[in-house]
């Protein structure tokens, strides 16, 4: 089967498409502008100075003369609105608008994280512990100047950190492997115990604990309370499900015969779990989308729909 040769990208169609988009953007721009100048709430942040800071207000407050338009925050609203739309524009296709938003997002966030980790980790946790007096003198005025107990241990991360930076010099790049190995190794070790304790043992204990005892059941039934029976059947279902899932994750046994059947049951259990997770997450996403739309509709465009 030959692929139908894609028609040589029709130049006319492209220019036409461009024009249509230009027109659409222009119309949207005009509508926005008109709305901006006619609707007082749109794209403006009203604030009232309470003396101890600014508080949100409304256009009505402004009319009343108590509030004013906070230009900084208004610009903020515009930026976030335009950025939001920019990111949404990806839904249509990749375009320069999206690229600008993407680049801004990445650049700002990368810088932000860099600064954040510098001031929240390196300064207080490393320099603050190793050289408290010095750090106090220029960075964190409130820092106690005395060394902590066992403070010298912090030289280890300092050295490891420097070794990690050695990657910048190709010749000594190999040094970076050591801290990396340290991190990965420690992680693995810590996680093993953490995993055994929380997941492995936790799962076992929780399963066992949910299992009703014979005595309590008899007692409940004698009292005419049959819920314990349901509890038992539920517990049995849980136990069987867990065991079936465990079998599915057996790697060293080929799934044949009885093992295959049990594993198949495990698959069903996992499917049910996934289904529930899927639904749950989708709901969460829709909620997130709603928040973004709410921002655009109410805070930016100040549209009065759905009883906002």
């Amino acid at each position: 089967m030959t692929t139908t040769p894609r028609p040589d990208t029709n130049q006319n169609l492209k220019t036409f498409e461009k024009r249509v988009w230009l027109a659409v953007i222009l119309i949207i721009g005009i509508v926005l502008m008109t709305r901006f100048f006619t609707v007082k709430e749109m794209g403006r942040y009203y604030a009232v100075d309470t003396g101890s800071g600014l508080e949100a207000a409304t256009a009505v407050d402004k009319e009343a003369g108590v509030a004013f338009v906070d230009v900084d925050r208004s610009i903020g609203i515009w930026i976030s609105a335009l950025m939001t739309i920019g990111i949404f524009s990806f839904l249509y296709k990749d375009n320069p608008y999206y690229k600008v938003c993407e680049a801004l997002f990445i650049g700002i966030s990368a810088a932000y994280w860099m600064v954040l980790s510098f001031w929240t980790t390196i300064i207080p946790n490393l320099f603050g512990k190793l050289f408290p007096t010095w750090t106090q003198s220029w960075a964190i005025p409130g820092l106690p100047t005395a060394h902590e107990h066992d403070w010298w241990l912090y030289f280890v991360p300092l050295i490891l950190g420097i070794m990690l930076l050695m990657r910048l010099f190709p010749k000594y790049g190999w040094m970076a492997r050591w801290p990396l190995a340290f991190i990965i190794g420690t992680t693995a070790g810590l996680r093993l115990i953490g995993f055994l304790e929380a997941d492995f043992w936790g799962q076992i204990i929780n399963t066992i604990n949910s299992f009703p005892s014979y005595a309590s059941m008899i007692e409940a039934v004698n009292e005419g309370n049959y819920s314990e029976l349901f509890k038992l059947s539920n517990a049995i279902i849980v136990v069987v499900s867990i065991l079936a899932c465990l079998v599915y994750f057996f790697f060293s046994i080929e799934h044949k015969g009885a093992v295959a059947k049990v594993a198949r049951l495990g698959i069903f259990v996992l499917m049910v779990t996934f289904g529930a997770g899927f639904g749950f997450t989708v709901m969460g996403r829709i909620a997130l989308l709603a928040i973004r739309l709410e921002f655009l509709i109410y805070d930016w465009l100040a549209l009065d729909i759905v009883g906002g």
Binding site: M1, T2, T3, I267, L270, M271, F274, G275, F278
Partner: protein, 613 residues
């Protein structure tokens, strides 16, 4: 997947009036014998009437293929009472009374057939597509080079130099895809300067069927050192193959370059009314044609001395494989090695001395022309053939797959049934027709032996019609089909296939001594019903030309094609063997214990009357 309906009409020599064709002469120049058949129009129907054969004459001292052709044709002529060859040694056309024929066609696999070197980027992807194109065209693929075959460039160069292919097929990259890999392959092939097999008087024919955007670059690499032909990409996109342009150009180049340099072929080409095709290519064409016409799935096998060819058409997709080292003479020792002697001997129902057998096998290998004289030797040889066929079919299954590298569409429900691309498309349950050819199968003293070899090696499931190519006529009919499809189909139907019968087998593991299926057979003079226990075989006489209606009810989870445990009724065809009910397990399991196995085989041998006294 692939377009195998090849059209060779672009080099048709002469315009033919199909209605006026009454006498057709066809030859197949094999590596050892040249076989000629005569097809005549009798009462408005085409029938194969006579045949003859003579040793092929491509090697010294004669070194002119037409001598063998003339000899074979003369033999046919003598038998038919016609004169085909004039005093100049040429074939007389058109037919006039008792003289001449209307068309003459031929296939060729002399001198080892068409040997090709194939190269592609990823072994399992474009290289596999290229291999499929080459095999489909009837070539023997000597070597497949790919960017990921783990060989260093110098090793690849060395390998190319060792080989002396007739032709090279270079593919790789989707259209608009990779260029560097394809050019890289060209850069390996070009300096290796492969020498064509038939002398160095002509330039090596190279077909380029890769990324069309890299074609010019490839041409720059090869410059004028090879005969480069650029055709459409065999893998224009990852999702589909487009094999026919490459296949057709293989046929063209085979004729124009390779054949033209083989001794005597220039003359043969001028004689023939249709392009000369590589034998296996012709066999594939006819099988594909039949499968397409009847909407069936078919498998054909040709077991030779050195190689075994398997052809299959499943849901319209044609595949061919050549198992280069599985055969009954040159390769017999390799079959025993690959399958292991123990696996071969499990088909033998009496004790044999393994040491003695090993020597016999090796002697057959070094003296490939001998034939079994004793029954013991025959039984052993047929045991080997079962293993050879089984291995060849296995290789075929591994090769005849869906395409690799295709994006899969999934839903949440698929999570636990994920399968990688490249699954086999061969499905024994949907197989309708199994055709056998090749010495050990077609010349078995008893047709029941042929049937059993097929059933044991291929393990057909459900309802499968078994047949054999009577006198290895499929190549001739394949070429004929390109000129006169109606004649080809008529002869195929009436004279080519000898029906052995139908095998009805249950799929799944059956238990010894437990009922596996119940059957009712109704037909002319037949009204039977009964049940079969696991591990049993039953032979019901149903002769050639007869049909019967068979209702099978499998028990438990066993399946005969309608689903587990569901009954199925079908009309079946009889043959020289008859109707075979097979309640042995699928996959066929034989006991590991030698004695127990012998007992079981012996029982089957008796039921099937394989080796009557």
């Amino acid at each position: 997947m692939s377009h195998n309906q090849s059209s060779h009409s672009h080099i048709t020599h002469k315009a033919l009036d199909l209605d006026k064709i009454n006498v057709i002469l066809a030859t197949d120049c094999g590596s050892t014998t040249t076989k000629a058949i005569l097809i005549e129009k009798i009462d408005g129907h085409y029938r194969q009437t006579h045949r003859g054969e003579a040793p092929t004459t491509v090697e010294k001292p004669v070194a002119d293929v037409t001598v063998g052709v003339t000899n074979a044709v003369t033999e046919v002529g003598e038998l038919a009472g016609r004169k085909f060859v004039d005093d100049n040694g040429e074939i007389i056309r058109p037919a006039n009374g008792n003289v001449g024929c209307d068309i003459y066609i031929s296939t060729s696999s002399a001198g080892g057939g068409l040997q090709m070197l194939v190269a592609g980027v990823v072994k399992e992807m474009s290289a596999a597509s290229a291999t499929r194109a080459a095999l489909g065209a009837g070539a023997i693929v000597m070597e497949t080079l790919s960017s990921n075959d783990k060989r260093k460039p110098y090793e690849q160069i060395q390998r190319i130099r060792e080989l002396r292919p007739d032709m090279i097929l270079l593919a790789g990259g989707t259209d608009g895809g990779t260029k560097k890999h394809v050019v890289g392959l060209a850069e390996i092939i070009a300096p290796a300067k492969p020498l064509p097999r038939f002398g160095s008087e002509y330039r090596m024919p190279v077909i380029y069927a890769g990324n069309k955007e890299a074609a010019e670059l490839v041409q720059d690499v090869f410059k004028d050192e090879v005969e480069l032909k650029i055709v459409e990409n065999v893998r224009p996109v990852m999702e589909s193959e487009y094999l026919s342009p490459a296949r057709d150009s293989i046929h063209d180049l085979f004729l124009e370059h390779v054949m033209a340099h083989a001794p005597g072929y220039d003359k043969l080409i001028s004689w023939a009314d249709a392009p000369i095709m590589p034998t296996p290519g012709a066999v594939g064409d006819i099988l594909k044609m039949i499968a397409d016409r009847d909407q069936i799935n078919a498998v054909g096998v040709d077991i030779g001395g050195a190689t075994t060819d398997v052809f299959s058409v499943f849901d319209g997709v044609f595949n061919r494989t050549v198992s280069a080292n599985l055969g009954m003479s040159y390769s017999i020792s390799n079959v025993c090695t690959e399958a292991t002697m123990a696996k071969v001997l499990r088909w033998v129902h009496f004790d044999m001395d393994e040491r003695e057998l090993r020597n016999r096998v090796k002697n057959k290998m070094i003296r490939p022309t001998t034939i079994p004289q004793t029954r013991e030797a025959l039984v052993f040889e047929q045991a080997v053939s079962r293993e050879a066929l089984r291995l060849a079919y296995q290789q075929h299954k591994e090769f005849a797959t869906t395409l690799k590298g295709v994006q899969q569409q999934r839903t949440v429900g698929d999570v636990f049934s994920q399968q990688t691309g490249g699954n086999t498309i061969v499905n024994n349950m949907t197989l309708n027709l199994l055709v056998a050819s090749g010495g050990v199968l077609s010349h078995a003293p008893n047709m029941n032996q042929t049937s059993m070899m097929l059933i044991d090696a291929f393990e057909p499931e459900g309802f499968t019609t078994l047949a054999k190519d009577s006198i290895f006529m499929m190549p001739h009919l394949g070429v004929l089909a390109s000129v006169h499809p109606q004649a080809a189909l008529e002869v195929f139907e009436k004279d080519c296939l000898i029906y052995l019968g139908t095998c009805v087998a249950v799929k799944g593991l059956t238990k010894l001594g437990e009922v596996a299926m119940r059957y009712t057979v109704r037909g002319k003079g037949l009204d039977l019903n009964g049940s079969m226990n696991g591990g049993e075989l039953k032979l019901i006489p149903l002769w050639e030309g007869e049909t019967a209606t068979v209702l099978v009810e499998p028990t438990g989870r066993l399946d005969v094609g309608a689903g587990p445990g569901r009954p199925l009724e079908k009309e079946v065809r009889g043959g020289t063997t008859g109707l075979i009910f097979d309640a042995r397990s699928r996959p066929l399991l034989l006991p590991d214990d030698r004695l127990q196995g012998q007992k079981m085989i012996k029982q089957w041998v008796e039921t099937m009357e394989l080796y009557p006294n």
